[in-house]
Symmetry: C3
Subunit: 161 residues, 3 copies
């Protein structure tokens, strides 16, 4: 068993199935694009184990609490790890996280986006450790996200060639 | 004639002139920045053939329909290809699309951003094919875009050194 | 004295201290992530010399003028240069700016985001010159930014290995 896989097991975490895209929607791109030693991860959202879009949907600060936003960001990390694992075969190939762009579906008065996106960053560091898991990050408020999901996150990573 | 140029001709497509920046506005950056084997494409918008900003302007879901948003995303792709062609001299030098970040100027209730940005992705894959044209992508809702344009898209690509 | 340090001194500019993160907020990421010849700079905001969050806070077009937004973008550049200097030890190691993503906390009616983010781009070109300082850029309107800051900007740069 690979090191990261073991770590996920120790933490009691399982990665969800690929996203179930709503009927009639075609998405003509890849969830993960690998080229040389760079990985570009598409904007991911929180999923249930079966790949269906996780609830609750809505805007953080109006219907969705900050804590629910944190949990959505954590589930978003698991969904991205699922995509990465399917593409790479082995998450131990990841040598460095580089950039995390965290987007929060925001109500007008809410602005503690960093505390929401911490749900993603905390899990990355917990699973990969501080050296590999460290990253540059932005955490900002969007006017809307697909399907009304509260959080969407894209990332760039490095793998061994 | 280069392969991609031929493909554009076969599809009946022509690339627009460089953007006509409104009088009094200075933009102190480049539409395309090349360094080593990486290309960074600035946020592009839909243009008419003469480089003027394409209409209609406004927010998707309020005044602009999803179909008009799709068409704006398609025109945005042509504008970016125009910038890339002027910089590279030959679009055949592009060896891989990597990352597409699609931004939709959104009305409060609209959230089908992926179906709007498909106007860009569909054309990339149509022109470059699935291998070179595949990319990671996010498609999200912005509170506003320059000049009130309905769509803005930035990208990262790879070229042969 | 390094060349860029000299240039900053000639312009009468000093770089602010590291951001004073509000009490109780933990930010589990780095302001600058370096890997190989790439630098990823996290989303930075305008700071006072002591690293406290600069005022005024609010939305450009409602409470914050376009000119105040420009000044915030300029201060954001100085904050990012401070982070880069602490990480690299010497800003002369920067061989190229690549990508600048400029985010404006926007009121509903405002859309001249490029003229706000010019505060950042103008200073980059002024300090680094047109060759090193040139960059690809997007300048767009966000529904909200952390702490209600009017401007946040992230970037990617190249250094000598």
């Amino acid at each position: 068993m690979s090191k990261i896989e073991q770590r996920l097991t120790d933490l009691g975490l399982t990665l969800p199935d690929p996203i179930q895209v709503p009927p009639g929607m075609v998405l003509p791109f890849s969830w993960v694009r690998v080229r040389g030693n760079r990985i570009y991860a598409s904007g991911h959202i929180a999923l249930n184990q079966d790949g269906s879009v996780a609830e609750p949907l809505g805007k953080v600060g109006a219907g969705i609490t900050q804590e629910q936003g944190y949990e959505a960001a954590r589930l978003t990390c698991l969904a991205m790890l699922g995509s990465l694992n399917r593409e790479l075969g082995d998450l131990d190939r990841i040598t460095s996280w580089l950039r995390v762009f965290g987007m929060v579906n925001t109500a007008p008065e809410f602005n503690l986006y960093p505390l929401v996106i911490n749900g993603f960053s905390d899990l990355v560091v917990e699973v990969f450790g501080a050296d590999i898991g460290d990253h540059a990050r932005s955490a900002v408020g969007l006017a809307g996200l697909p399907f009304g999901t509260p959080v969407e996150i894209e990332a760039e990573l490095e793998i061994s060639d």
